[in-house]
Symmetry: C2
Subunit: 145 residues, 2 copies
Amino acid sequence: MPDILHAVGVKATPAQVYAALTTIDGLAGWWTSDTRGDTKVGDTISFHFGEKARVDVKVLELKPNERVVWQVLDAHGDWIGTKIRFELKQKDALTHIVFKHEGWEQPTEFMHHCSTKWATFLVSLKALLEKGAGAPYPNDTQIAA
Amino acid sequence: MPDILHAVGVKATPAQVYAALTTIDGLAGWWTSDTRGDTKVGDTISFHFGEKARVDVKVLELKPNERVVWQVLDAHGDWIGTKIRFELKQKDALTHIVFKHEGWEQPTEFMHHCSTKWATFLVSLKALLEKGAGAPYPNDTQIAA
């Protein structure tokens, strides 16, 4: 099965990156400004993208400052059941975020699109941590039009 | 084998996108400003990234306004022998660029990094065609530091 893979290096500590992945305020700063729910293991986080899309994930695994894993509960059909994984690795002054969105059944054109979008959101996460402001939806980088 | 997959929609004709993929000036406008060589089938295009990296590709296949395929001849070791494929599909006022960098032996962290970088360069290609200016190396989006 094809996976979406990305990596970015961020000038921040693993604890700062982890906080941006495990708090509602942090997530709202880089993915979508309309993020709701709770963020402990077993909780559901709901990411709203206006009227057009919503992604609900269950928090599957948390290892402080090292790993965050979500399972997609509800979203565009291709996403349901997929897992989204962030691994954090400190290297000198950087924290490397190694990202994987796995479990896609087919490499559809929509999956290609999501791969590019994830990259722009990870660049947004980097900007949030380094410059204090990301570009979450609805201010995200437009790639489809 | 893992692949890098991306897609972007560009407000341009397939012919305009094809020109940005098959002319030295076009390529220099979005990937690296130091692009050399020739761009017909069988030719070698050499992409220079300062002192730190160079990518030489052989033009494997050209189908006007529809497809461009390169084979990597020389580059970072993980890239050698991989293929880079651009498929163009017109949809209303957009041309969708469906991108694939295939033939990676392993999903190394370097491959994850390259996936994110390709996304930022495809966003650069979109900006070149829509706004008249891309962000090729050395003005590319920094993601590693």
